[in-house]
């Protein structure tokens, strides 16, 4: 059916406006294809057909080559696949990066990165990116959006989206000549032919737009200008916190008063003792504080700790602190273990660890070889000699008295200290203390002699000392 519009007066086509194409109208797809074939045979290259729906056979008729769009989409899809996998790996399986680090999520014992669990998101990202590539790629290749097209000025052309078919021969084509092309189009069955002129009105931007554009451009300058202004400035106010994350929370800190549920004048606190944080129920043991095995944690055979009068149960408390050990050497001692408890396995790695810890904790006094050459000891001894300090020289670890000690006793010396040597139980974890013990034993086994022994040997046979 015919649909007629009351359109605006035809565009003025003054002598200045150039003819850019001839537009021929056809009534059905088949005559359009036929005309396209004829035009191609006649040698036209710059032409296009327009129709309300894709007409089959038209691609061959006007010689359209297959679009590269699929390859573009494939490339984007593959890129998206790699991106998605990397993203998930980075975010959930690493946390080393100094900036925007990932976070190693340990969840339900699942591996940090396993393909099956990461497939769904990878798939969705591939589809999403490829769809965007298809959509925007298609419009880009088609040269759209294009809002100013002289063809839209032709009243006849409005029916291209309704029921008419058009063949457009462009004036730029080598074969184009206005009169002959028109004649040819008529020959090929065109129902109507119109000229399409260059549309000079298109070039003019409406005033409002120009103003808005200028304002917009200036507005674009604002953010960088502001950033430039504030960079390197000092502030008294705390900085603007756009994303609060979880930085401020309504809560009570430890060691503070709990909520007041009474009035300000006569306060009543939520808990009887007024504390915000309650102490654990008596008998509660914190994680890792359960130290049952005497052999492992305290270095003596279970049940052999002598109960000294007055010391009471405190001598047997959880820490295994032998309270009297430091006071005098006369206190009866428990039966020390003379071997390593079953919790530790002594091997090269263990000894290496022991050496390393020994060099951190013990060398300062006892020296690398255990003979007391440590800098702290040397200085203290010198000060003591000058009468400026009181110091008992660190005992040589090769002293026969020390060598004769059972393993558990050395462990106890490290844990609780001995005489003037301080305890290391709070600095060094149990296992490391056993490692140091093992290393001390290894040192003793080397046959290094104490300074006295050396001096005696030297005085007995002077030449042996050289």
């Amino acid at each position: 059916m015919a649909h007629s519009h009351k359109h605006d007066t035809p565009v003025e086509t003054g002598p200045s406006s150039k003819l850019i194409s001839l537009v021929a109208q056809f009534d059905d797809p088949h005559s359009l294809v036929a005309a396209c074939d004829r035009a191609r045979e006649a040698g036209y290259k710059k032409m296009d057909a327009y129709s309300p729906f894709p007409v089959h056979g038209i691609d061959d008729a006007i010689g359209i080559r297959r679009t590269r769009l699929p390859f573009f989409v494939l490339a984007v899809g593959l890129g998206a696949c790699a991106f998605a996998l990397l993203l998930q790996y980075y975010v959930n399986a690493t946390d080393e990066s100094p900036i925007f680090p990932g976070y190693k999520f340990f969840i339900s014992g699942k591996p940090l990165f396993s393909l099956p669990a990461n497939i769904p998101v990878t798939f969705e990202i591939i589809v999403l990116s490829s769809a965007f590539a298809t959509f925007f790629g298609m419009w880009y290749l088609n040269g759209l959006p294009r809002f100013a097209n002289p063809l839209h000025r032709l009243p006849m052309f409005r029916r291209v989206t309704n029921d008419k078919f058009f063949l457009v021969l462009e004036a730029e084509d080598e074969k184009f000549s206005e009169s002959r092309s028109r004649q040819q189009l008529e020959e090929w069955g065109a129902k109507a032919i119109e000229e399409c002129h260059e549309d000079l009105t298109d070039q003019k931007i409406p005033n409002g737009f120009r103003l808005a554009g200028i304002v917009f451009l200036f507005a674009l300058l604002l953010p960088p200008a502001l950033i430039y202004r504030v960079s390197g400035m000092t502030y008294r106010q705390p900085r603007l916190h756009v994303v609060p994350d979880m930085d401020w929370q309504d809560r009570y800190n430890t060691q503070t008063r709990g909520p007041n549920i009474g009035t300000p004048e006569s306060p009543r606190y939520l808990f009887a003792d007024g504390r915000a944080m309650q102490r654990p129920v008596s008998g509660t043991i914190a994680r890792g504080d359960l130290t049952e095995s005497d052999e492992y944690f305290r270095g003596y055979k279970t049940g052999t700790l002598p109960v000294s009068e007055g010391a009471g149960p405190s001598a047997q408390d959880q820490d295994g602190q032998d309270q009297d050990g430091m006071a005098t050497g006369t206190t009866p001692e428990p039966e020390w273990v003379d071997g390593f408890p079953e919790e530790v396995v002594v091997n090269t790695d263990f000894l290496k660890r022991g050496k390393q810890r020994f060099e951190i904790y013990c060398v300062a006094c006892h020296g690398y070889d255990g003979n007391g050459e440590g800098l702290v000891n040397q200085r203290a001894v010198a000060l003591a000699a000058a009468g400026e300090a009181a110091w008992t020289a660190a005992k040589s670890l090769h002293d026969p008295a020390v060598k004769a000690q059972p393993i558990g006793r050395i462990f106890d010396t490290i844990s609780n200290g001995r005489a003037t040597m301080g305890p290391y139980k709070d600095q060094i974890p149990v296992k490391d203390r056993w490692a140091i013990t093992a290393y001390v034993r290894a040192l003793q086994a080397t046959g290094i002699r104490t300074p006295q022994e050396l001096a005696e040997a030297n005085s007995a046979t002077p030449e042996a000392g050289q």
Binding site: H56, I64, P120, V127, F132, T134, L141, F147, N162, V243
Partner: protein, 478 residues
């Protein structure tokens, strides 16, 4: 078939010797354009449009009030509580997402299978899809509690917390699946509509119309080169959307299947959810299109044959869903896990047994009426059945969710009671859906004009002097 049948007026008869016409009454290209554009060109839409639109807007405002209430009070206004932490919000989410499957199925899968009858219904179905996904996204969207940090759903680097989503969680897969689905459906819908918006542009009378439709049509001219890339892009999008549409409900089903709850932890969930989604989606398309077709006089474009085809799909997917219900029971017995057995017996005869039987009646028994031709071709009958299907599908999700009330430990059993806000929000979501759909009917081309022209008898049965042999192969072409 009887020789008296006029194929150009009735296309419901099967005649193997000829392909049934998809456009009836000998409509020309111009007639097709006029028929569709009339809805938009008419000075006023039909009275019923105002009634439906008005009601929908009222419901939409109820939804808005509920949402405000929710934002200010927190998610406690819902009935969600131990042991059902996911109540109506997820039931409604799965329900709407399911409905949102028909559109892309029709436009992508039926396109790849060269089912030409899709052309008359795909536009409205795609629109319906998008509106349904909007309704679906609403529920989990507002369920997150602290709305102002919604962006934590996405892998956005935070200022100073190394805080990222957990990519091994099905709930996160959901974010990506539903987000991708909504976006791709929107692109597909809009791209398909551009040539038809150009039709509207060329028929615009007022300045505002010219401006808006001119902008939206992107300067489309219908050039053969443009059509060539456009068709290629359409095919690629269809090929992308096909696995996508299957993945979405699969992933939604993982929300349940990946957890360890008896009645949820099953491998049948993905296919069964997808079949259910198509089932409910097609039912919604029938519910919407039958009234639209009469109201906007589209009988010659959306023919009885189109509707009958959809009813056949409803019946087929209904059977799949029914089979899945049966298999679930079989496996519960055959698997020999007592918790699983209990879960299913409880489903049918336990605390929410009534909803189970509503579900079975609506989803399994009632669609069987479509075996009878009269029900498949009678407008009122098919609308009633399709509404039953949608009720049934809502209850299906409800039944699945209520497995939460009876898990392993009897000491943690409990019941779920929806709050008033729950119920109002469900009703309100229909307001949102119908508001959008009414606006779509009024202001956008509800039928893919250019695609229908392409499969109309005028294009397909061209009795001309064929000097071009490529005309012959039109029969199966898109």
């Amino acid at each position: 078939m009887a020789a008296t049948v006029d194929f150009s007026l009735d296309n419901t008869h099967e005649d193997p010797s000829r392909r049934a016409d998809l456009v009836l009454g000998g409509m020309t290209y111009g007639d097709i354009t006029d028929n569709v554009a009339e809805i938009w060109e008419a000075g006023r839409p039909p009275k019923i449009w105002y009634v439906v639109f008005g009601t929908a807007v009222v419901l939409l405002s109820i939804l808005g009030v509920c949402l405000l209430h929710l934002f200010f009070m927190g998610v406690g206004v819902w009935g969600n509580n131990n042991p059902v932490y996911w109540g109506f919000p997820i039931v409604n989410f799965v329900f709407w997402v399911g409905i949102g499957h028909a559109g892309t199925l029709i436009s992508a899968i039926l396109f790849l299978f060269r089912q030409n009858w899709r052309t008359s219904i795909n536009r409205a179905a795609e629109a319906m899809t998008i509106f349904a996904v909007v309704c679906a996204g609403l529920f989990p969207g507002v369920h997150i509690g602290r709305l102002w940090v919604f962006y934590w759903l996405f892998p956005v680097p935070t200022e100073h917390l190394a805080m990222w989503p957990n990519f091994r969680s099905p709930l996160l897969w959901d974010v990506f699946a539903v987000g991708t689905y909504a976006t791709v459906s929107l692109l597909f819908w809009y791209m398909g509509m551009v040539p038809d918006i150009a039709t509207f542009r060329d028929r615009s009378k007022t300045k505002i119309q010219k401006f808006i439709y001119g902008l939206l049509s992107l300067g489309w001219t219908g050039s053969a080169r443009n059509w060539h890339r456009y068709e290629m892009a359409y095919t690629i999008l269809a090929a992308l959307a096909t696995p996508l549409v299957l993945s979405v409900h699969t992933i939604v089903s993982f929300d349940f299947a990946v957890s360890q709850l008896p009645g949820w932890h099953t491998t049948i969930f993905p296919p069964y959810f997808v079949a259910g989604a198509i089932f409910s989606g097609f039912a919604m398309v029938v519910t919407l299109l039958v009234p639209c077709r009469s109201l906007f006089k589209l009988e010659r474009l959306i023919t009885i044959r189109h509707l009958e085809n959809m009813n056949k799909i409803i019946m087929a997917t209904g059977l799949m869903v029914g089979t899945a219900y049966g298999i679930e029971f079989f496996i519960a017995w055959y698997g020999g896990v007592e918790y699983e057995k209990f879960a299913f017996i409880n489903r049918a005869f336990g605390n929410y047994g009534i909803s189970y039987w509503i579900m079975v009646t609506c989803n399994v028994f009632i669609p069987q009426l479509f075996w009878i031709r009269w029900f498949r071709t009678n407008l009122l009958a098919m609308v009633v059945i399709s509404i039953f299907v949608n009720i049934g599908m809502w209850f299906e999700r409800f039944v699945i969710l209520m497995s939460l009330t009876r898990d392993f430990l009897p000491s943690s059993w409990g019941n779920f009671y929806p709050s008033l806000v729950d119920i109002l929000m469900l009703i309100g979501s229909f307001g949102l859906f119908f508001t959008l759909f009414c606006l779509f009917c009024r202001y956008l081309p509800i039928i893919a004009i250019s695609e229908v022209k392409n499969v109309s008898p005028q294009t397909l049965h061209h009795h001309g002097h064929d000097e071009h042999e490529h005309h012959v192969e039109h029969g199966t072409a898109h």
